[in-house]
Point group: C2
Chain length 388, copies 2
């Protein structure tokens, strides 16, 4: 197994990008990453693309070939593969690229993630997102993602005394971070009151507890570490890539206050990277809902189970706190174009580890972690990245 | 890079399986393969699933986790990943599994492919299949897959003097083979007259020139060769795995009488396996249309460009001929549940190389090839398999 590094990154603005098509944003992010790495197209061995539901959002499957074609890489007949695992599509695409290089099969791989969600009506988008749940035993009975996470929130409040205010603080913090990210969908700080008084979606969760529908794309260039110095002075090494699954349906789980797939992927990742949770300086967590970030920071081992809400309230997860969580603004404020999200998380971690995060820079960040979730924890992929 | 072998195979009957759900057929094929390999579930390291359009056919994405969940593998939190490249989804899923083992990351990987196509109306299925084309420049103008392949057929007739009868002979042969396969969707021989007089779909292609809509699933168990003997006396080695892309749209190609992605993937595969086209005893070709098989046997180098029709007419591609093509019946007669097809091809090749193909056995078959296509040649993946 060879070591793998990120040598190039790119991402579009996230938001309602009505003037761009899916393929335009995909290629925009890809070209930024390739240009960032100083590559020529001929040097690229393979392409992986994370995308959840091109078939329903844009009536286009065969997404790997689409991006290969319109980026010009199909002229070189590059191997192009789409990977799908709902919200974890992007993270899993990175993992496939990582494996392709680690195996020695390829030297340089581009991994993109993209989704165009705002060209369909909101109700349609809700139905599409529900296809990440168990269709036969959850979605068909009307369970939306928000309602499933509302149940998780209620139970967490019941079990651990987590307060509504603590949950809401995740949104306040991530909007504060997003305000420092010029590519975030929401770049305005919000108050605790705003979250608490926002229209309920599935109580206790309101509008400001939910990540938005977004258009956007992100890309990274991966390279064997032994060749990375040819392209960049600051390669960022992927020191762990770990993946786990769980039942799709929440009702099949013993405990809905934790995602076992998160815990197992994290344990494997820390073992592979030979680090402890306390060694992580900066982390992107899959905060598709505010409560999700609280579960995640507990499941990663950054805080004890039940103490995530309190830690958030105390500012321990803000920039300048014990561990900076979702410096990009997270899914909540940066936006959540589903297939792009897992790749965008790694783009943010690399930006931080390179020391290029501007106003949201975490001083001295050397170890970063990205946590990407599909469905309500049915798939989780965790990557650890480190300054070489 | 480690060597990889197939140690277990399974497949459902292909056809209109109205009494089974998607997850039922997926799990049925997977359990057959695992049982064939004599594995216990705990020994499996990862799962890859090929599926084209779960989102639109069954309103379910997150397909990897679905199969992991309902097969019980999610209890072990197995890494489960869906791969999509339209008709090449199954072949690419095998390639990801191959890479995961070759890299040393995993020892044993299950690869499944599944599609449930007959629970939606035919017009809907046609629209879904068109999402493998270029949505913006082909599908939106009404180009169906049949019409694109009809243009290819017309051009091949014009360029090389290929006759309508030669093209139709592909269907006659594959139905003859399918009649020997108890799991084929169509198990009845048809005459040349039947094909020629079948209702036109897009001239010159008629109903009997087109693969059907099908439900079905197939699975293989892959294992590092060094550990394969523990499970089976007849491991079949994957001696090559190669992939290439091309433009999605036909109108972007220099020559529509060949698929460059097929030619390049084949060239790479023959180089990796250190064999020549003439060394192949048995091959599964992606005959979604009769003309596709003629292109494929030329693009693989089994016959010179322009001579595929004549070779078919002379019986050179039938069982007992120069090279046995589509002994399973191919997509045409065995059926074409899109995501399952690439995996089912490998199941057939392994069956032949094990000498377990019954009435359709190719005597002394030692080298097999599977050729799996996404869209009209936008993605191609070729695998070579050999008796160890």
């Amino acid at each position: 197994m060879r070591d793998v590094a990120v040598i190039g990154i790119g991402d579009t603005k996230f938001g309602e990008l009505w003037d761009c098509s899916f393929r335009e944003i995909g290629i925009q992010a890809g070209l930024m990453a390739v240009s960032d790495a100083g590559l020529s197209g001929e040097e690229i061995d393979a392409l992986y693309v994370g995308n959840m539901s091109g078939g329903r959002y844009i009536e286009q499957e065969h997404i790997g070939a689409v991006i290969a074609d319109y980026s010009g890489m199909a002229r070189n007949h590059i191997a192009a593969t789409r990977v799908e695992a709902a919200g974890a599509s992007g993270g899993l695409a990175i993992r496939q690229g990582y494996m392709a290089i680690a195996s020695g099969l390829h030297d340089i791989v581009v991994v993109g993630g993209a989704e165009k969600m705002t060209d369909v009506p909101d109700q349609m988008s809700m139905a599409i997102q529900a296809s990440a749940e168990d269709q036969q035993w959850e979605a068909i009975f009307g369970a939306t993602f928000t309602s499933l996470h509302a149940m998780i929130a209620r139970r967490h409040m019941h079990e651990y005394g987590t307060t509504r205010e603590q949950i809401a603080q995740v949104a306040v913090k991530n909007h504060k971070h997003g305000a420092l990210n010029p590519k975030a969908q929401f770049q305005r700080e919000i108050s605790l009151e705003t979250v608490l008084r926002s229209p309920p979606v599935a109580e206790p969760l309101g509008v400001f507890d939910c990540a938005p529908n977004s258009d956007g794309a992100a890309a990274v260039v991966l390279c064997a570490v032994e060749k990375a110095k040819k392209y960049t002075d600051s390669p960022i090494k992927i020191t762990a890539s770990a993946q786990a699954s769980d039942t799709l349906a929440l009702h099949h789980r013993v405990d809905i206050c934790r995602f076992d797939a998160s815990r197992i992927a994290a344990t494997k990742a820390f073992k592979q990277a030979k680090i402890k949770p306390k060694d992580v300086d900066v982390a992107e967590m899959h905060d598709n809902f505010t409560i999700s970030e609280i579960l995640a920071i507990e499941d990663m081992g950054f805080f004890r189970k039940g103490e995530g809400g309190k830690a958030t309230e105390e500012g321990q997860t803000a920039i300048g706190g014990k561990i900076a969580v979702n410096t990009s603004g997270g899914l909540k404020a940066r936006g959540d174009p589903i297939g792009a999200t897992g790749v965008a998380q790694v783009v943010e971690i690399v930006t931080q580890l390179r020391g290029e995060a501007g106003k949201r820079q975490v001083e001295g960040a050397e170890v970063g972690l990205a946590h990407n979730v599909g469905g309500a924890g049915g798939t989780v992929v965790v990557h650890v990245l480190e300054v070489i």
